[in-house]
C-alpha cells in the first residue's frame, strides 16, 4: 500500500513539475537540467583531455574529436553555465526583492521548457548521425561546408533554447522593475539582484543578433539562401560579427551573476556590508555597457584593418577598470570583517586570485598586435577557462552550497564540500595554468592531436591529470548531494546564521507564496538591519490579506514541444524526406494552437484566503 502511495506520489510530483509556474520549482528544474548538462559537458571535456594526453593518440578519431570539442563548448556555455545561473536567479532574486513570484510566471516556465527542449534537440545529434563539428563559434565557411546534420542541430537547437533565454531575461527585468517590496529602492537591492538585472539587460540586447545569425545560417543550410556563399555574393564575416556581437556580451552574461553570488557570499561570511556598494553597482552597469563595444577583439586576425583593431583593443582594455573596482571592493569587504571559511566562502576566496589571473590574460589578449600570436592557441583556451571555471563554475559551486538549504531545506555536508573544493581547485589550476605555455610554444587550439617532438608532451599530460582531479571533485559533490538528500535534516530560516538579505528571513524552502505579508524594507541588507535591532523577522508592510497566485499550466511544455517537433521537420526537409514538411507543420501547429489556447482561455489565477494563511501560522506549519 505504501509503495502504491509512493508511486502515485511520483506521478503527481512529475506532473507538478511539468506544469509548475512557481519560480522556486522552475529554479529546481533549471538546476537539475543544467547540472545534467554540466556533467555531459564535463564528460566531453574528459574525452578531450584523454585524447590529448599523449601525442598521436587515437582514443577518438579526428572527426569525432571536432564534434566532442564543439559540443563541449556549446553545452557548457548554453546548456550548463547559463541555466545554472538562471537556477539561482529564479530561486533567489524574487525572494531578495520581496516578491511573491516573477512578473510572468507562465513565461518563466515557457523559458525553461524552451531551453530544455533546445538542449535535448542539440544533444540528440549524437544519436542521429553526428554532432555539430564547426566549433562553438560555428564560423560560416566551415559550418556551411560541414556535411550531415550536425550544424543544423546546432542552429535549430540554439535557436529554440535562445528564445527561452531571451524571454527569461525579459521576465527578470520586469520583475525587478515592477515587483520590489515596499521600501526596496534600486539602491537597496542586493547585488545579486543587481547582477540579475544587468545580466538580463545584456540578454535582451545580445540574443537578437545571435537569433539573426542563426536564422541566416539556417536559411543558408536548409532553404538555399546565400548569405555566406561567397560565389553568390555572400560574406562570411557577417557571421563572425553577428556571433561575437552576441558572443562577447554572452561571457559577461555568465560572469556577472557569478559576481553577484560572490558579492553575497563575501558579505555574509565576513559579517560585513559590501564595501563600496554604489561603486559595485556602477561597475556592474559599466561592464555591461562596455561589453557591447568590444566584440571585435575576437576577430583581430580576421583582417578588419588597423583602425578597427586599435579601437577595439583599447575599448577592451577599458573593461579591466570596472572589474578591478569590483575585485578590490571584495577584498575590502573582507578587510576588517569576521571571515568564516565555510564551503561557499572557500570558493569565493579562491575565486579572487583565479579570476584575476584569467582577467589579466584577457587584457593581454586585448593587446591586438600581441593577440596575433595568442589568437586560436591554447593561450586563449587557458584564458577563458580561467575566467569561466575560475569565475563562473566556482560561483556555481559556491551558489550550490550557499543556496542549497534555501532551495531544498537541508544543508549539504560541509566536509564533503571542502573535499570537492580542494580537489576541484587543485585540478583546475593544474589543468589550465600550463595551457598558457602550450599556446605560447605554438600549439593551436581545436587540434585533435599533435605530433611528438614539438615539446608539447609533458604539458598536455599535466593538463590531463588535472582534469581528473576536477572530475573526482565533481563526483564527490554528486555523492554529497545524494547523501544529504537522503538524510534530509531540516534547517530553519537562516541556516548560515549570517544571512543579510530578505531570502533568509523566510522559511527554507519558502512557502509557495513566499511572503505571507510583503516585508517593509528599511535599508540595504534589510534582514540584517532587523536582526541587529534584535528582531527575528521582517516588519510587514501590509496587513494579512488574500494572496493572488497564478495557475499551473501544461501549455509551456507543449509550446516548446511543438517547436522541438517542428525543428526535426525543418532539418530533414533538405533530405527530401516526404514526412519532413508535414512534421514541421504539425510541430508549428502544436505551438500555435497552444499559444492560441493560452490567449483565448482566461487565466485569472486563484486566491489564497487570508483565513487559510492565519490558520497555517497558528498551527505552526510554517514559521
Amino acid at each position: 500500500m505504501s509503495t502504491y502511495a509512493q508511486k502515485k506520489g511520483f506521478g503527481a510530483t512529475l506532473w507538478d513539475f511539468l506544469t509548475t509556474v512557481d519560480h522556486k520549482k522552475i529554479a529546481i528544474l533549471y538546476l537539475i537540467a543544467g547540472g545534467f548538462f554540466f556533467v555531459v559537458g564535463g564528460l566531453e571535456a574528459m574525452f578531450i583531455r584523454i585524447q590529448l594526453a599523449v601525442p598521436n593518440n587515437d582514443f577518438v578519431s579526428a572527426g569525432l574529436y571536432n564534434e566532442i570539442m564543439t559540443m563541449h563548448g556549446t553545452t557548457m556555455i548554453f546548456l550548463a553555465a547559463m541555466p545554472l545561473v538562471f537556477a539561482f536567479m529564479n530561486a533567489v532574486m524574487p525572494l531578495q526583492i520581496g516578491a511573491r513570484d516573477v512578473a510572468f510566471p507562465f513565461v518563466n516556465a515557457l523559458g525553461f521548457w524552451l531551453f530544455f527542449f533546445g538542449g535535448v534537440f542539440l544533444n540528440l545529434s549524437w544519436f542521429l548521425g553526428g554532432a555539430p563539428d564547426a566549433g562553438w563559434t560555428s564560423y560560416a565557411s566551415l559550418a556551411i561546408a560541414s556535411k550531415g546534420h550536425g550544424v543544423d542541430f546546432y542552429v535549430l537547437g540554439l535557436q529554440i533554447s535562445g528564445i527561452g533565454t531571451l524571454i527569461g531575461g525579459i521576465n527578470f527585468l520586469v520583475t525587478i522593475i515592477n515587483m520590489r517590496a515596499p521600501g526596496m529602492t534600486y539602491m537597496r537591492m542586493p547585488l545579486f539582484t543587481w547582477s540579475t538585472f544587468v545580466t538580463s539587460a545584456l540578454i535582451l540586447f545580445a540574443f537578437p543578433p545571435l537569433t539573426v545569425g542563426l536564422v541566416l545560417m539556417m536559411f543558408d543550410r536548409l532553404f538555399g539562401a546565400n548569405f555566406f556563399e561567397v560565389t553568390m555574393g555572400g560574406n562570411t564575416v557577417i557571421w563572425e560579427h553577428l556571433f561575437w556581437i552576441f558572443g562577447h556580451p554572452e561571457v559577461y552574461i555568465l560572469i556577472l551573476p557569478a559576481f553577484g553570488i560572490f558579492s553575497e557570499t563575501f558579505a555574509i561570511f565576513s559579517r560585513k556590508r559590501l564595501f563600496g556598494y554604489s561603486s559595485m553597482v556602477f561597475a556592474l552597469v559599466l561592464i555591461g555597457f562596455l561589453g557591447f563595444m568590444v566584440w571585435a577583439h575576437h576577430m583581430f586576425t580576421t583582417g578588419l584593418g588597423p583602425v578597427a583593431n586599435a579601437i577595439f583593443a583599447v575599448a577592451t582594455m577599458a573593461i579591466g577598470v570596472p572589474t578591478g573596482i569590483k575585485i578590490f571592493n571584495w577584498l575590502f569587504t573582507m578587510w576588517g570583517g569576521s571571515v568564516k571559511f565555510t564551503t561557499p566562502m572557500l570558493y569565493a576566496v579562491s575565486f579572487i586570485p583565479s579570476f584575476v589571473a584569467g582577467g589579466v590574460t584577457g587584457v593581454m589578449l586585448a593587446s591586438a598586435a600581441a593577440d596575433y600570436q595568442y589568437h586560436d592557441t591554447y593561450f586563449v583556451v587557458a584564458h577563458f577557462h580561467y575566467v569561466i571555471v575560475g569565475g563562473v563554475v566556482l560561483a556555481i559551486l559556491a551558489g550550490t552550497h550557499l543556496y542549497w538549504p534555501k532551495m531544498f531545506g537541508t544543508m549539504l555536508n560541509e566536509t564533503m564540500g571542502k573535499i570537492t573544493f580542494t580537489l576541484f581547485l587543485i585540478g583546475f589550476h593544474l589543468t589550465f595554468f600550463i595551457q598558457h605555455f602550450l599556446g605560447l610554444w605554438g600549439m593551436p587550439r581545436r587540434v585533435f592531436t599533435y605530433l611528438p617532438g614539438q615539446g608539447f608532451e609533458t604539458a598536455n599530460m599535466v593538463s590531463t591529470v588535472g582534469a581528473f582531479f576536477m572530475a573526482v571533485g565533481v563526483i564527490v559533490l554528486l555523492i554529497n548531494i545524494i547523501v544529504t538528500s537522503a538524510r534530509n535534516v531540516r534547517v530553519g530560516n537562516d541556516p548560515w546564521g549570517d544571512g543579510r538579505t530578505l531570502e533568509w528571513a523566510i522559511p527554507s524552502p519558502p512557502p509557495f507564496y513566499n511572503f505571507k505579508q510583503l516585508p517593509l524594507v528599511r535599508g540595504l541588507d534589510a534582514y540584517w538591519l532587523e536582526k541587529m535591532e534584535g528582531k527575528m523577522a521582517m516588519t510587514p508592510a501590509e496587513p494579512i490579506g488574500d494572496i493572488h497566485m497564478p495557475n499551473a499550466s501544461f501549455l509551456p511544455f507543449t509550446i516548446a514541444l511543438g517547436l522541438f517537433i517542428a525543428a526535426f521537420g525543418a532539418m530533414y526537409h533538405v533530405d527530401h524526406k516526404p514526412w519532413a514538411l508535414p512534421v514541421m507543420v504539425i510541430g508549428l501547429l502544436v505551438t500555435f494552437a497552444s499559444m492560441f489556447l493560452r490567449s483565448v482561455k482566461d487565466d485569472h489565477g486563484f486566491h489564497i484566503h487570508k483565513e487559510d494563511l492565519i490558520e497555517k501560522t497558528d498551527k505552526g506549519v510554517e514559521a
Binding site: 512578473a103 525579459i170 520586469v174 515592477n178 537578437p208 538555399g224 539562401a225 546565400n226 553568390m232 555574393g233
Partner: protein, 208 residues
C-alpha cells in the same frame, strides 16, 4: 482592483492599460521586448546593407533596377494610415467606447491586410525578374529583412483578429485593456520599422 469587474463609462480608470499589477508588468515587458526587437531589426538592416547589390553576375538585377516608387508609396500609405486607425482605437478604449474601438481595430487589420497583399504582389513581381531568395546574397538579404517585417505584420494581423474574436462579446475590462494596448504598441512598432525599410531599402535603393 478586480480584473473581471464590470465597468461603466464613469468608473473606467484613466490608465486602464496600467491599472493592475499584471497590466503594468505587461506594459513594461512589452516595451522591453520592443527594445530587443530593435536590435533584431538593426542586425537585419546591417546584414542587408552589407549585402546590398551583392550579386554573382552583373546581369542580375540590382536595387536600382527593381524597386518601384508607386508600389512602395501605396504600401507606405496603407501602413501609415493603419497606425492612425490604431491610435483611434486606443482613443476609444480610453473613453470606454468598446464598439468604436472594435471598429477602428477592424479597420487597422484591413489596412494591414492590404499592405500584406501589396507586399506579396511585389515579391511575385521580383521573382519574375529573377530576383529570388536563392538567386544571390542580395536576394537572400532583401527577402529576409522585408520578409521579417512582413512576418511581423502577418503575426500582428492574427493577433488583432484573435483579440477581437475573443473579446467581441465581453466588452472592455481591466483584463483585456492592456492586451489591446500592447497590441497597438506592437502595431506602431511595425510602422516604425517600415519607415526605415522604405527609407533605407527602397528610397536609398533607388537613389543608388
Amino acid at each position: 482592483m478586480q480584473v473581471e469587474e464590470k465597468f461603466t463609462y464613469e468608473t473606467w480608470p484613466a490608465h486602464s492599460e496600467k491599472a493592475t499589477l499584471e497590466a503594468k508588468n505587461k506594459f513594461i515587458g512589452f516595451w522591453l521586448f520592443l527594445g530587443g526587437e530593435t536590435v533584431l531589426f538593426a542586425s537585419l538592416f546591417a546584414t542587408y546593407l552589407a549585402l546590398k547589390d551583392k550579386v554573382p553576375n552583373t546581369s542580375m538585377p540590382h536595387a536600382k533596377d527593381l524597386f518601384e516608387l508607386p508600389l512602395t508609396f501605396a504600401a507606405t500609405m496603407l501602413l501609415l494610415t493603419s497606425s492612425l486607425t490604431s491610435v483611434y482605437a486606443m482613443y476609444h478604449m480610453k473613453n470606454f467606447a468598446f464598439r468604436k474601438m472594435m471598429l477602428w481595430l477592424g479597420l487597422t487589420a484591413l489596412l494591414g491586410a492590404g499592405f500584406l497583399g501589396l507586399e506579396i504582389y511585389e515579391f511575385t513581381n521580383y521573382v519574375h525578374e529573377g530576383h529570388t531568395f536563392t538567386s544571390s546574397a542580395f536576394g537572400s538579404a532583401f527577402y529576409t529583412l522585408v520578409g521579417f517585417h512582413g512576418g511581423h505584420v502577418a503575426f500582428g494581423l492574427l493577433w488583432c483578429l484573435t483579440l477581437m474574436f475573443r473579446n467581441s462579446k465581453r466588452g472592455l475590462d481591466l483584463y483585456n485593456a492592456p492586451k489591446f494596448y500592447v497590441f497597438s504598441l506592437y502595431w506602431h512598432f511595425i510602422d516604425v520599422v517600415w519607415v526605415f525599410i522604405f527609407t533605407v531599402v527602397y528610397l536609398m535603393g533607388m537613389v543608388g
